[in-house]
Symmetry: C2
Subunit: 480 residues, 2 copies
Amino acid sequence: MNYRAVLNILGALLISIALAMSLPLAFSLYYQEGDAGDFLVSMIITMVVGLLLVLFNRHHTELRTREGFAIVVLSWTFAAAFGALPFVFSGAIPSYTDAFFETMSGFSTTGASILTDIEALPHGLLFWRSLTHWLGGMGIIVLSLAILPFLGVGGMQLFKAEVPGPAPDKLSPRIKETAKILYGVYVLITALETVLLMAGGLSLFDALCHTFGTVATGGFSTKNASIAHFDSLYVESVIMVFMVLAGTNFALHYRFLSKQWGVYTSDREFRFYFRILLFCILLVTGMLFLINKLELGESVRAAAFQVISITTTTGYATADFEQWSTAGQLMMLLLMFVGGCAGSTGGSIKIVRIMLIFKHGLNELQKLLHPNAFLPIRLGGRIVSPEVMTNILAFFVIYMGIFTVGSLVMAMMGLDIITATSSVAATLGNIGPGLATIGPTDNYAHIPLFGKWLLSFFMLLGRLELYTVIVLITPAFWKK
Amino acid sequence: MNYRAVLNILGALLISIALAMSLPLAFSLYYQEGDAGDFLVSMIITMVVGLLLVLFNRHHTELRTREGFAIVVLSWTFAAAFGALPFVFSGAIPSYTDAFFETMSGFSTTGASILTDIEALPHGLLFWRSLTHWLGGMGIIVLSLAILPFLGVGGMQLFKAEVPGPAPDKLSPRIKETAKILYGVYVLITALETVLLMAGGLSLFDALCHTFGTVATGGFSTKNASIAHFDSLYVESVIMVFMVLAGTNFALHYRFLSKQWGVYTSDREFRFYFRILLFCILLVTGMLFLINKLELGESVRAAAFQVISITTTTGYATADFEQWSTAGQLMMLLLMFVGGCAGSTGGSIKIVRIMLIFKHGLNELQKLLHPNAFLPIRLGGRIVSPEVMTNILAFFVIYMGIFTVGSLVMAMMGLDIITATSSVAATLGNIGPGLATIGPTDNYAHIPLFGKWLLSFFMLLGRLELYTVIVLITPAFWKK
């Protein structure tokens, strides 16, 4: 392991984070709520540590896969560790554990909160909290479409299989070029949603914060009641549309903007994603209309928003789904295992994996009837290699394994079964709210100390597609 | 599809079931509790239908795979449909739905009951109820070790890979021979446990009934309090040992009786099975001792019995595990997804699959570090073919899929989440008791009508290794 190279890059990351803190600082100075000094101190500490790391670890060797894994995992960890400082210094979140949880929840675009009264926070801190989502989302798109493929994990591998036509690397193959293009798309979508939300009556501050939470599929709101606060069909509609976009492969957006108009409808994963959303919205609407006896319009509205919010792993709430029937609640719990498309900011298992796992199951049944036939699994006309299929199935198994063991450990802390299981599902899948005592109107404040660290780890694990983190804690990784 | 051949064999099955009813009839005549006439009527109906099917469908063609699937699935269905008659005619279980549920639970060796007062039933009916377990268990051993391999499903395929040495078919390859050998082992184990239980003070009746429930990993008791009724460490110990034996591959027992003494310790699946049991007993003992503050001896005793009972999918109870901590309860729920060894009477996912899925996960992680290395999955020195691995992973995925959709449908009937999910886990895995309103001290009486039929179907589905049943409801199966 080339430690110097790793530390050098982490130093650069810390410098960027220190610079990013100047944005909330601006809001602090504008609103004058006494948190500007705390931001300054946090910025200076982060900047100094960053500069020291960069200066004392100058190194110009090629990075290998091992360093890649270490950099990715430590980037998110360092970001959360230093990003937590303003919360602690300001006294808004006195416990460092809580502050780390909240910041990891931000950078991992989870949206799980330990805050009991969000609106009590000064504007600067609220802006920083939402900005961690946006930065994390930006990181994840680049990671999944440009960096992870180099490390042989998930993302691009699957994505490539889905690019129709003869040019699978129309996106610039070099990481920097790819990153630039994706940043452009991300910023454009952000700008668009901000403008549309402001048109709906939101202040620039609220519009920006909620846009950050949407495009990163994060879920932090500046309001205690989340999106229900605005009670506006327009605002909900805008957020719904952008949640769907945020859960879509960003490479598709780029290609759409490059005037390949039919790119969405020809993409297998997007079509499956769209169908899952539609099917689940219909199902939940039916439940709300028939079991909970809501009006039809109300049922559609609540079902559409919650299904999209949970499936894309955003976690915004317009309805307290704990008031729904048990079937409705279970549906929400199950949707936590779906997630967005590969190459989106959404987390969890992801649509393309769910789709291929589904196809694989059907395939095995066919083999029973035709034991000697050659029955490959296809995706958009191409054959999915057994290696990719094996990797996806292992991902599913490991995901369920972590969910299982994690739930057991959380239960050992004395939490009830629903809280224990949904806390792991909601953090591992980067959703945010769970069920029972961590439902959409509750928060994670009451989770025991060790539980908060464990759930923070699950956020990281889920966000980085499991493998990236697990590999790092494998003894074989550290062998010469 | 050769319908005549299928109906002919089903007729023979019904004749056997009618003959089997003579055993409980003997108890009815001895105890004189007024149910003898009901047994006679049931026997006559079953016998007549059986004879008609045999006589009007004389046919001597070779059976193909398709007929094999149909025979297996319809055998269990017919057995439950006609086996339910004595319960209905006697008025002990007036609703046919309830009686079918109870009988399917018997033949599938599940042990889930709709009875609120078991001890109120006459001896004859109680004996029949337990006997359905024993017959079902006998059927399943032959099915998994002799018939399913012919159909290309689960059992032998896996088992073969595990036979050490150069003679993978030491068990006679012909179904009839294999069946005879296995019946012999099954009867021997049954006789042994009956004698040991009688030595512990149980009447012949109680000893036989509880032996049937043990060796078939069923779980029906003749007592409302299940095994807790006897409050005897000796009885519990005997039952524990035989539950472990019943959850072991019966081919191993045969080979042990053929003086291959080291056969258990050299079998990979058995070793993994033993380790899982030991690990979980230790874990649950720790939970009971530390969280529930039970005495150490009491903790070990309760933990050992419940872990073995649930893991082997028996479902006998000595403790109301709903009084345990949530972690203890969740542990029980998770163990419902493990199950016995392949070729045992145990249900659920099964040890060999869990073991290979686990190895597969580790393997994928190794591949990340050594992307170009050839890393096959081994079981006892042999390489597991990718086809077998693919089949096992698909099994896991389909199992979880059915569990998921099933839980959702049960929740739609208004059940709480824990009851809904555990009812599916407990029937699909052929365990018996679940959690919440269907816990070890409760029963399934309150489940809505449609729910009882659906859970009966899940018992069948789980018992026949999913594929056997699913293939039958695939449109492609019925195409010419």
